[in-house]
């Protein structure tokens, strides 16, 4: 297989594009895909301040690296989730990357600042804290972005993440989520930052290849809390189909974004955003989902302590 640009032996094949690139040409193709996504979706401009949500994994670090190479103003933000060794390794990888490139990395420590860690948020039915962890991340990334005056929060969600989310939303017919799913979530309240996903055109394999070629030191280990997560099952199913039908994941997602989403979005009333009674952050209810989650956990701890005492 030869590089479609310079005809040297190829290193990375992108089957859905019927293309292959050598290590020298691949990073340029990758960054071009990121730039096209930013421009075509109107995500942000050269003068905007971007806050990149950093996990220490390949996607967030590859995104941060690509944005800087493309000349954007991008700082990072990392949340110390308190997931044992995994969190220690991911924090180290994030800090090493920021130090190597001389970048600002804001951090929130859940245990020190808020008195809890993500493993305590396990859902009693599924035994997993993944949904609660998503709520925690969205809350803090938004709060820090607004408090520090960033124009936009960028996350490393890629084509596989988005296709798996879409698959899950379709099979459960989550029409409200389907109507909102997309690479840009506009700000509809002064305390709600704009959220964008500049990697939505790139597969997980593409971002991993970029990280390897650019020698980005990311954590390979998987979050121990995510083992057996539904999103991983959906990705496995979609990859089995992609093996026989290259391009299927992209057609599934892009087809939805071009057609299906618009049809669903038009049927929904725009949600009224107000400020949470407890914390003042934007929410559609009286109390935001983050405060509700923390209240629920507090009640569980209190009832457990009361049961022990009786």
């Amino acid at each position: 297989m030869r590089c479609i640009r310079c005809k040297a032996p190829a290193n990375v094949e992108v089957r859905r594009h019927r293309s292959a690139f050598c290590s020298g040409c691949y990073p340029g193709w990758f960054r071009n895909q990121v730039q096209r996504a930013i421009e075509s979706e109107g995500m942000f401009g050269r003068d905007d301040k971007v806050l990149v949500a950093i996990s220490g994994g390949k996607d967030s670090l590859a995104l941060w690296h690509a944005l800087l190479q493309l000349g954007y103003q991008a700082d990072g933000m990392y949340i110390r989730l308190g997931i044992g060794n995994y969190s220690q390794h991911s924090q180290s990888a994030s800090e090493r990357f920021a130090a190597k490139h001389g970048l600002a990395l804001h951090q929130v420590d859940l245990k020190e600042e808020y008195g809890f860690v993500v493993p305590q948020l396990r859902n009693q039915r599924e035994g997993k804290p993944c949904a609660a962890c998503g709520t925690v991340k969205r809350y803090h990334f938004n709060k820090v972005a607004v408090d520090l005056g960033y124009d936009v929060v960028a996350t490393g969600h890629n084509l596989d993440d988005e296709a798996a989310t879409l698959f899950g939303n379709v099979i459960h017919w989550q029409t409200d989520f389907l109507g909102r799913q997309g690479p840009v979530l506009a700000s509809t309240h002064p305390k709600l930052a704009r959220k964008v996903k500049p990697l939505f055109r790139l597969a997980e394999r593409d971002t991993a290849a970029y990280a390897v070629i650019e020698r980005i030191d990311y954590i390979l280990e998987e979050c121990p809390m995510a083992v057996g997560a539904k999103s991983l099952e959906y990705k496995d199913l979609l990859n089995a189909l992609e093996e026989r039908q290259p391009g299927l994941k992209q057609r599934f997602l892009v087809g939805f974004l071009r057609g299906g989403r618009k049809a669903l979005a038009g049927r929904q009333e725009p949600a009224l955003i107000r400020e949470c009674r407890e914390c003042g952050q934007p929410t559609t209810g009286e109390v935001c989902s983050y405060c509700r989650m923390r209240q629920r956990k507090r009640r569980q701890v209190e009832s457990r302590m009361a049961a022990r005492g009786s």
């Binding site: 297989m1 190829a10 290193n11 990375v12 094949e13 089957r15 292959a20 290590s23 994994g57 390949k58 996607d59 993944c130 949904a131 962890c133 998503g134 991340k137 969205r138 596989d160 597969a203 997980e204 394999r205 971002t207 991993a208 290849a209 390897v212 070629i213 390979l220 280990e221 998987e222 979050c223 809390m225 995510a226 997560a229 999103s231 991983l232 990705k235 496995d236 990859n239 089995a240 992609e242 093996e243």
Partner: protein, 65 residues
Amino acid sequence: MKVTILPAREIREAAAADVGQLLKELKLHQDAYLVIRSDQILTRDVQLKSTDEVEIWPVISGGQG
């Protein structure tokens, strides 16, 4: 050839003519892994020798967030 599967660095012996065949033999989806030899990513048509040492890197991450 010696195959090291990350992140656990599980070591396996395998025989395959090329990268595509190696992934098939190990029952791994080609979109879910990178195959690396001497710090270079290999495309699925690259021929392999019995003396080669390759690493297989997973690319899939999960959870919600």
